[in-house]
Each structure stands twice: as C-alpha cells, then as structure tokens.
Symmetry: C2
Subunit: 377 residues, 2 copies
Amino acid sequence: MRRNYLLTPGPTPLPPYARKALAREIIHHRTPQFQEILKEAHENLKYVFQTKNDVYILTSSGTGAMEAAVSNTVCPGDRVVVIEGGKFGERWTELCKVFGANIELVKVEWGNAVDPAIIKDILDKDKTIKAVFATHCETSTGVATNIRTLGNIIKDTPAIFVVDAISSLGAVEIKTDDWSIDMLVSGSQKGLMLPPGLAFISVSAKAGNIIDACKNPRYYFDLRLAKKAWAKTDTPFTPGISTIIALSEVLKQMRKETLDVIFSRNKKFAEAVKKTMVALGLELYAPSASSDSITPVKVPTGIDGVKLVKVMRDKYGVAIAEGQAQLKGKIFRIAHMGYIREKDLTVCIKILEKVLSDMGYKFKRGIGVKTLKKLLG
Amino acid sequence: MRRNYLLTPGPTPLPPYARKALAREIIHHRTPQFQEILKEAHENLKYVFQTKNDVYILTSSGTGAMEAAVSNTVCPGDRVVVIEGGKFGERWTELCKVFGANIELVKVEWGNAVDPAIIKDILDKDKTIKAVFATHCETSTGVATNIRTLGNIIKDTPAIFVVDAISSLGAVEIKTDDWSIDMLVSGSQKGLMLPPGLAFISVSAKAGNIIDACKNPRYYFDLRLAKKAWAKTDTPFTPGISTIIALSEVLKQMRKETLDVIFSRNKKFAEAVKKTMVALGLELYAPSASSDSITPVKVPTGIDGVKLVKVMRDKYGVAIAEGQAQLKGKIFRIAHMGYIREKDLTVCIKILEKVLSDMGYKFKRGIGVKTLKKLLG
C-alpha cells in the first residue's frame, strides 16, 4: 500500500502510538481503570494549555467547544466583540448571532491580523462588553493573532477573553494563564495528533462566574454539568473512550518531549517552508502575520489552484489544503505541526514541484527540495 | 496480557475489523476518498434503521442526538409527552425541561413498560401535543417499550414520535418507517460495536417540517445544517473521521450477516442468560418486559451488589453493569448484543458463579455454566 502524506491543517497524521491506542480493546468508562486515564490526561492537558484552571474534555469536534464557550456565557442582548478575519472568526460571529448577542464586529481583512489598539478603544468606550472572541491561528488564512497583547488589554475590563486555539494548541506557544485567557478552546485533530472527535475548553474563575449566572438553555455542552462531573473525575455523558485513551498516550509523549522542543521544531519547519516557497518563486500569503502551524501560499497566476491540490492528493497521495471560501483556488496551505516531520515536508515539496511543473509553472526544478533540505539540516 | 471480557450495555466489545479500521492512517474529510466512505456508511445506516429517510451522523455521544431531537423541535411552551421509566427516560424529561417544554410526564414504575392506552388517551384529549418521547430499551432497567403499538397510535395525530434506540439499534428489531417513528436516535457504542463518539438521528418528513419552523437557538446540533451538508455528502463540522471509517466497516459486516441473523442471535442469548439466572436461583428484574439487549437480574438478599460487580471486573476482568440510581446495589445487568459471543457469556457466568459463591451465596456450583452451554448448543 502506498504511504499517504497528510499535510493538511487538521486532521494531521496520527503517530504510531496513537494508532495503537485507538486499536486497543475498549474498557467501560465508569471504572477506576478509565478514571485513572482520564485523570492523567487532564493533568497533562493542563500542561499543554499552560493553565491551573480546569480543562474539560467534550466529545465533539472543536466547534462543539466553541458552542460551549458561547452558549454558557452569551445571553440574548449581551454586548460582545468578535474579531473576524477568516472562516473560523465567522464561526464565532455565527454562534454569537445564534445565541442572540449584540455584536461589535471587528472585521479584519483576510490575510491580516487585528490591530489590538482597535479592541482597546472599543473596550475603553463600552464597559458593557461581556466577552471578546478571537482566533489564535485562523486556519483559513494562516494568520496568527497577537493573543498576548489582547489578553493584557482585556484582563482589567469586565469582559472575558475567549480564544479559539483549535489549530494552534500544542503547535505554537499559547499561555492560557499568563496571557489572561478566560476560555481557551481546542480540538483533538491538529497539534494533538488524534482523530477529530474530542474538544477541550479551559475555564477561568472570571468565566466560571458568568457561566453560573447564564440562563441559556443548554445540556450536552452545559459546562456546569461538566464541572460537577469533573469534580468526581467523570464526564456528564458517555465520553469518546478510545480517543481519550489515545489522548492520554499522546499527551504523555508531548510532555516527555516538552512544549519548547515541539514549538521550536514547528517554528523551524515554518521558516524552512516559507523560504522554500520563495526559492520556488512563489508568493507567501500573509507573509508578516502567518502562524507557525500553517504556511499559506498564493497560487501563481495561470495555475488552477483547486486542480493543483487535487492532483497532488489523488495522483501522488500528498494532501495539502486548498483555499476556503473567498480564497478557493487562490491559495494553498501546507501544515507543519503535530506528527508532520522532515520526510513529509520533503515529499510534499518534491510533489509540489512535480505538479507545478506539469501544470506549466516555470521555475528551477529541484530548487525547492534543495532549499528545504539545507534549511532542515 | 489478560483478555478482558466486556458485557456492559455500552460500550460493547470492538470486533477486530473495527479495531483495525480505527488504527488506519487518517485521511482528510473534505476529499472524494472520505465522501465515498460517508456515502456507503449512510446507505448502510438506512438499512440498519430500516428507513428511507435521511440518517444524520453527529460527532457526539448519543445524548447529543437526543439534544438534537429536542432542540430542533421543542419550543418554549410546547406541549410534549415524555414516557419516563428509568434514567434515560429522565434524560428526555431533563432535555425537554431545558428547552422550555410544557411536559405531560408519564411516569412508569421502574421495571415496567408503559401501557400504550395511557398515551392514546392523552393524545385523544389533547390535540396540541407536538411530540412524544420514548425509550426503546431503557438501559437502566432493561425494559423494552412497545414502540410498534405506540407508533400506530401516534401516527395519525399532529405529534411526532421520537424514540431513543441507543441500546437497541442493531441489537433488537426496530423498524423506523413501518412503526411510524419520526426521529430515531442512536449511538455508536452498543449494537454498532464501535467506541462512543458518534450519534445518529433519522428524520421523517413530518419531523422535517417542525425542524424547519423551529426558532430555538442551536448550532452544532442544528439539523438544518446537517441536512444542507448531507445533500453534498458532507458534514457541517469536522466529523469523527476514524470512527466513521470503522462504522463503514461494521455496517458492511452487519449487512452481510443480515439484521435477522443478528437479532436471532441476541434473542437466543437473552433467553439462554435468563434461564441460566433462574437455574442459579436468581430472580430476574422485569421478567416480562425486558429487552433482548440486556438481562437485568436482582442481587440476592445478603449479597453486596456493588462489590459483586467490582470483584468480577477488578479481580477477574469480567465487566458487567451494576444498577444505576435507585437500583444501585439492587440489580446487575448482563449485556448480550453487538460483538458479545458465546465465549464471553460462558466466561461471564463462570466468574459470576465463582464470585457469588465466594460471597456466600448458596447454589449448585456449575449449574449456571451447564445450563448456558446446553441452551447455546
């Protein structure tokens, strides 16, 4: 069987120890055996989140945790700020609309990061703002938001700071407590190297008070039920047992490797891939703002970007991501996080060169792989 | 490593082909490769549901699909009937309360099935009833509800019929279309032999109209979004890819084996286990009403039921279920569905005999295993 190379920003490849854990005989969840696993996973999740707060494990994809963040805090008519600079920022907007928020929408041109001064200005003028929603790494554009600066601005206001770290947690630095993030939301299928199906959400004391006071109808994602169950090392509903067992294995490995080593590797990969794109004569999308999780690249003029991604995947088994929504056909995205390693990147660049060349793009064949290999050392 | 025997009513053991599928390299979900798997799984789910309606796959545990059934149909003040005869009937009540329903609560004594005439009477008198919520197999008591008769009563009223088949689908006969069920809800970890993490919900045309008109705030479980995505063989949010791949393998096997063969096996197992309990001098809980998925058994006087289950599991690796809530310590439950086979049942009875004997219960040692083996042939 041909090896498939997966360089999409979620799902990312599963390491062998995760696959082995997924294939284990299943055990019942209301047992001391499972509780031990849950407890260890929880402790190690707190390490990855860099928080002393509780981190709840939800059985859903990342959007479920985003809904939990909104449905547990935003009541009809509440004033909230949403920073929206891509498809996943739009998801915050949609969720806040569904739950009846009075939204101060901060639209950021796709490919750019928000200017924190704009948020400061809004919060200075309006003391009724209850929450600020942001996206750490906007998966659709690759843009990284300056969460640290925003956290500093928000922490002394009545507002809570809610951050989507779905494609950044475990991939690039994000410090929940130090950066004053009240609710950090993530998913299993990106930096945590697991199949999709688990979502995570941390809750600060400031957010906890709002959750307790919130009257919205909610049940499966009710964080009061999660908190109550968590106190007994339990979950309110049947959890995704097999994925949690694999999660505990992955987190053990991450802790052993340390976040610093993981973040440095991803940073090195990001820089190498960016320079490789330039060597190929390609133009980076959002060159000054992009996250170390993903490199977004403009499709060169005259090349069909949708076809490029399709041929790489269907003919050569190398999956990268195409552009979404308004960027469809205009960019492609190469992920370098989780279990993606030198070999994956090298094969990816080799195939990218081959397909670009076949499609008529002019460049010096081999320069990409050569540049990459040199930079990866 | 010691083999563990799992005879709990969810999770149930994973067959080798499911475990193998879970351990596969992951693929991206927005690809023709995954769409093909999703399409096939969907077709085979319709076979298992015995329906021509759409069946949506949600990435959550079964309770998520229960929430979807309520949040998409029940608006504040709506009149609904909830049939509640155990912990999972109570879950319908809780969900209907959360979404503001005006509930006609039909409490059934635990261990008994509802008398359909009561429901007919309510529906005859009150034409404003919008939905009737029932539990096919009440996992906490093992009681089976007569869904067929209820469906016949409800079908000619304005009400929709919503059935929790979480611990019955793929284990005992349930005919969505023939029995006029408007929304059938299930999960992955029982008759479908997978880890928890996927939920399923079928939607009739009658239910579809109510969903479209419903104004409740909802997002992750919004069935309008599920329908829209499904039309393009897609899911609205990142799905539980690995579990869906395993689902497609399990459903293929089930279709090959046929539902009739599966249901007959479970029926034979249920009858054999029940007679084995009687041979051991034990008293069945709900003898006239229990489902073929689970055999509920009264803990004999003088025996600590919690300890019995704990010792069987922790000392001998045989997991059965204890009683829940008001039945804690008073009953134990043996599941015989999914991938549970003769060997599992034999080991279970052998260990049950051993532990009962060690705990001082008087009976003819060996009579259980002998009875079971004779009946299993």
